[in-house]
Amino acid sequence: MDLKEKLVSSFMAFEGQIDVDAPVHEIRSEAIKVFEQKGFPTKKEESWKYTSLNALLKNDYTVFPKEESALQFQDVKKYFLHEIDSYKIVFVDGIYSSYLSETSHEGLDVCLMSAALSKPKYRLIIDNYFNKIAPKDDGLTALNTAFSREGAFINIPKGKVVEKPIQILHFSTGKESALMLQPRNLVVVGENAHVQIIERHQSLTENPVLTNSVTEIHANRNSIVDYYKIQNDAQTASLIDNTYIAQKKHSHASVHTFSLGGNITRNNLNFYHLDERIDSTLKGITIIGDKQHVDHSTLVHHAQPNCESHQDYKGIYADKSTGVFNGKVLVDKIAQKTNAFQQNNNILIDDRAVINTKPQLEIFADDVKCSHGCTIGQLDEEALFYLQSRGIPSKEARALLMYGFANNVLASVKIDEVKKRIKKLIAMKLNVNIGFEL
């Protein structure tokens, strides 16, 4: 039985575990039908031309998380930003770990999707926001919707500036020989509210993990949302991250994606503008090697006038790694005075490394400023000689050049600890012992 069949036939068993009378169950039932019809994407689809899931789909995944596995904080501390005070929503093998978490209902909700989906007091918010921006016809998103039960639920009321960042962490322990996870997050940010979120998926063993995550973010009027995705997973862990952001008037939303590890990582990042004067920022640093694969497929839909979007993705590819940047900017006819900028710069360290970069601009308005640029190159030999002539050894000189190349993206990171952590991870990834500080 292939994975698709297995998932579809598991749905009945899944229904046995959940409240089928809950209103969201109708959404789930619809979604499984969509997944049954669409299945997993193949390379025949234009948007999946360069990313194949075939090898991943062959594993015999356990598709339901079972009971909680105990993890000691000391063992996983290094994956947290533990230097700063934060809220934490932590899952181990897909099950919420109250022990590792630090949630809240005081003045805001930082809690669990399972609670939001079942408790009457969240009924209205679920009715208004759940599965509203995730597209109904996408196979992977539908699969997640069908099995949506757990994940992070973050609800920031009007005017609330959340002082502490919120960390969402998913650990997998390897208790199952292969594990598939379907985390589902919902983030609702009220008018004038401000929130910062950091998300990370971490497998702790060699056993294969496939995570198909869906996150819906609603940035209401005047709100600010800053989202950081730290992707530095084990070589056997793969991630399909589907993130959908709907923005209202004067809202600012940014997503920074740092892809430094993992097996296959696909980031589907989608921004929708529902009103005017919106600002969207999409930035990423990708540094991979071996046979790793990272695919950034972004969409910014400018559907209203006077909005801005800023995209800047830097990629460094070593060994036989492959990268994809597929950046779509859609400017509707009414979206006059749009400013849309897109940059994708890549360095190939090895002859065997490959990057497929494809800016896709569809502009129907006539009074807009849209720019895009993509470059693919090697490290500058003259610059390398310059650094070496100052006593910096070849390996460190290369690392410094690569760091400098990617550094621009870090400038817009607002949490210092995130910045420090990423610099440290970059140094680790480049295998050098230089602190990119000062």
């Binding site: 610059a383 310059y386 410094l400 760091y403």
Partner: protein, 250 residues
């Protein structure tokens, strides 16, 4: 300190240096002059170890050690410094971060501990004052958007920080206005001692009024064709290189 014996070097089968001999002792200042294309910059790059040049014959001996096969960073660790004619722009790496890395990597190679942060800052402050460099300038990306004069001052600032035994200044005067020229040469002069040496590579005599050489060598078509004292530079300025070419062909 530096002994170059019958050095032949080139790039992709093209011979550029055709038998250079040069002896530089501690405390000396040598000027190497010559017209465009005579091999001046190649000589400085070859001494600093640029890999695209191939040494086909001869030896470069520094402090008693043949360094022909040394990587550029090893030469730097041994005390050779090259001030670039065209300093390279390195986006995303600040001047401070760069110099800090250079110093600590050099110390590491010499078996020393990293320089403590406060000591580093003190040194940076001291040396940037010597070169009249604004503090703000130090947090900018290395050479990115710098004017010609700023780039050259920054080169000498790095030299001051790294305290090399042998400094090669490749066309450091090009693109400098009179004030920058004064600052740069003043910096170089302050760094001179009986233990280190400077090789000034230049097209014009102008810089040599500020950094006064003990020896002047004329490079023509990959060979040193004439050596003399500082008066040779004046003679060249007056008569031009054609005079020398004619004299040699006679």
């Amino acid at each position: 300190m530096l002994t170059i014996k019958n050095l032949h070097a080139g790039i992709e089968e093209k011979d550029i240096l055709k038998g250079i001999n040069l002896q530089v002792n501690p405390g000396e200042v040598h000027a190497i002059m010559g017209p465009n294309g005579s091999g001046k910059s190649t000589l400085s790059s070859v001494i600093a170890g640029k890999e695209e040049y191939e040494v086909t014959e001869g030896d470069i001996v520094f402090e008693g050690e043949n360094i022909n096969e040394f990587a550029p960073e090893e030469r730097a660790h041994n005390g050779i410094f090259l001030s670039f004619q065209y300093p390279v722009e390195i986006p995303g790496v600040t001047v401070t971060n760069f110099i800090k890395t250079a110093i600590n990597e050099t110390r590491k190679a010499r078996g020393l501990e990293e320089m403590p942060a406060n000591e580093m800052l003190k040194l940076i402050r001291e040396k940037s004052e010597l070169l009249e460099i604004d503090r703000k300038f130090l947090s900018r990306s290395l050479n990115e958007g710098f004017s010609g004069g700023e780039k050259k001052r920054n080169e000498i600032f790095q030299m001051a920080m790294l305290e090399p035994k042998l400094a090669i200044l490749d066309e450091t005067d090009s693109g400098l206005d009179i004030d920058a020229l004064r600052i740069v040469s003043n910096g170089v002069n302050k760094l001179r001692s009986k233990d280190n040496a400077v090789v000034v590579i230049t097209h014009y005599q102008r810089l040599l009024e500020y950094i006064v050489p003990d020896f002047v060598h004329v490079l023509l078509d990959g060979k040193i064709v004439k050596s003399g004292g500082k008066e040779l530079a004046l003679e060249l300025e007056e008569k031009g290189y054609d005079w020398l070419k004619q004299e040699l062909s006679v």
